[in-house]
């Protein structure tokens, strides 16, 4: 009986209205991190998407979920321009629902069109932007809100948002971490004490990781590995319990900062995860303080 009550309370808490600041922070920042990741691809539309670059033939295999034909050069350029425009429009909250729908669709397309250039950010970005599209993320601190306020100054300005929109991201993070933790447990993280060390020797190496590799004692890598594993496997607990939540947030941000600094190209993934963590779990008063300059227009 107590379990049912607990479950009912948990579901009720999940859907209770929350501060819209979390959603707004995510809407502003996540598209910028995604565009940052995409920028090195967007700079070469022909190589990325058109028939002028190398295209993998339509072969069956685990590598490619679907084989999409290359597009002409002009279309590749159009996709890249549309990606930038819709991403920035989403961040600014301009025609948010439409711009984010276009952004999400294009992100899904480019992820499927070129498997060779698709990574974790390519896979989670369309989902994140789709949720922003299906939520009222443009209701505050946006061009849409400013425009609405200009037309009708008496129109209500929502301070709250239905809880499901925020809960999606708050649940997604621990689910993501625990899934990653399970993959690590199934992999080598319990049997090999220097997994992190082995990833410091190729093109992901940065000056920071090179310096650490030469100065951090070997046991330091094992300790870091254990801490990451405990954090990821226990993430649902760390983020659910109020008294561990802020430590989980701090650890998560530190971990992604470390990953970003030590594994060069992964920096955009790290940045996106830090934005997700901050928007979902940072004290809402902090987010509201950061968003203060938006008070005047909307």
């Amino acid at each position: 009986m107590q379990l049912i009550v607990f479950f009912e309370n948990a579901v009720a808490a999940m859907f209770r209205p929350r501060s819209i600041a979390r959603l707004v922070a995510l809407r502003i920042l996540a598209p910028l991190a995604i565009l940052g990741f995409m920028s090195s691809r967007i700079a070469y539309p022909d190589d990325w998407l058109s028939d002028l670059g190398f295209r993998v033939p339509a072969v069956t295999g685990w590598q490619q979920p679907i084989s999409l034909p290359p597009v002409p050069s002009w279309a590749a350029w159009a996709v890249c321009v549309a990606l930038v425009v819709s991403g920035l429009a989403t961040s600014l909250g301009a025609l948010t629902r439409w711009s984010s729908a276009v952004f999400a669709a294009l992100l899904a397309y480019v992820a499927l069109a070129d498997r060779l250039a698709a990574f974790t950010v390519s896979k989670i970005a369309p989902v994140i932007v789709l949720v922003l599209c299906l939520s009222p993320s443009g209701a505050r601190a946006s061009i849409d809100a400013w425009w609405r306020h200009r037309r009708d100054p008496k129109a209500p300005r929502p301070a709250l948002v239905s809880g499901g929109c925020v809960s999606f991201f708050q649940i997604m993070l621990p689910v993501f971490y625990v899934s990653s933790g399970i993959a690590k447990v199934k992999g080598d993280w319990l049997s090999e004490p220097y997994v992190l060390w082995t990833h410091l020797h190729d093109s992901y190496q940065t000056t920071v990781s090179w310096l650490l590799a030469n100065h951090l004692p070997a046991w330091g890598w094992t300790v870091s590995q254990g801490a990451v594993l405990v954090f990821e496997c226990g993430a649902p607990l760390w983020f659910a319990l109020p008294f561990t939540r802020r430590f989980a947030l701090a650890f998560g941000v530190t971990m992604h900062l470390g990953i970003g600094l030590m594994f060069g190209p992964v920096i955009w993934f790290s940045l996106l995860m830090i934005i997700l963590l901050g928007s979902s779990y940072a004290p809402v008063a902090w987010l509201e303080r950061v968003l203060t300059p938006t008070r005047a227009p909307a």
């Binding site: 600041a21 190398f54 209701a139 609405r148 997604m172 993959a183 060390w197 590799a213």
Partner: protein
């Protein structure tokens, strides 16, 4: 436009500091004027979205078995296997071309794959990783490199070429705690024979045909 639903007594549901958003006006909350912004569509649509969210979470935890029609969708949930295994060696894919009248010569793949050319997020490195055993893809790479070299790409090799050779360099890692070398990608750096694994080469008959045609 975003729908703003009015609640009779949102103060009862607005817990914690949520009501302190700049411009949110606490007195409005108390007076029952503040709105709660909601997503699009009626309640049943939003409940449907919740169901989809649950499926997405399940997909993250355990990517579904992949019948062909589901693979494009499952692709977006197969995202959490981050560095699950230890590297045994540092892998780097390299390319050589058969220079007509000479022999195999190292070539710079970066002009052909300009996206992130110096690290393993390069499309060339990914191509080697995903398709090094796939003959159809390797033949397509052969045709692509040969055509663009003939068109004058600046890849470090002059003259006509008869085909390509793809190999990977497998560099052993130092033991934990040993000095680590600073990495930089050099497509022309020599690779010791014992660290070299040939993956694909254009058949000799085809190289001869191309060079003599």
């Amino acid at each position: 436009m975003t729908k703003v639903a009015k609640r009779k007594d949102p103060a009862k549901t607005a817990t914690g500091p949520g009501a302190r958003l700049p411009g949110a006006h606490v007195h409005e909350l108390r007076g029952g004027l503040a709105g709660v912004a909601t997503g699009p569509g009626p309640r049943w649509v939003r409940l449907g979205l919740v169901a989809l969210a649950v499926l997405y979470y399940l997909g993250l935890i355990h990517p579904p078995a992949k019948p062909s029609w589901l693979r494009p969708v499952a692709f977006f949930t197969d995202a959490t296997g981050l560095f699950p295994r230890a590297d045994a060696v540092a892998i780097e894919y390299r390319l050589e071309v058969w220079a007509c009248g000479r022999s195999w010569e190292a070539i710079d793949p970066r002009p052909y794959f300009p996206i992130r050319p110096d690290d393993k997020e390069s499309r060339f490195q990914r191509l080697g990783y995903f398709y090094d055993r796939n003959r159809t893809v390797m033949q397509a790479l052969d045709a692509y490199i040969s055509a663009h070299h003939a068109a004058g790409a600046d890849d470090g090799v002059v003259g006509r070429t008869g085909g390509i050779r793809l190999f990977k360099s497998v560099r052993p890692l130092p033991s934990a705690g040993e000095p680590v070398e600073r990495y930089h990608f050099d497509p022309f750096a020599p690779v010791p024979t014992e660290q070299r694994r040939d993956l694909y080469y254009t058949p000799a008959s085809e190289r001869k045909r191309r060079c003599s045609s």
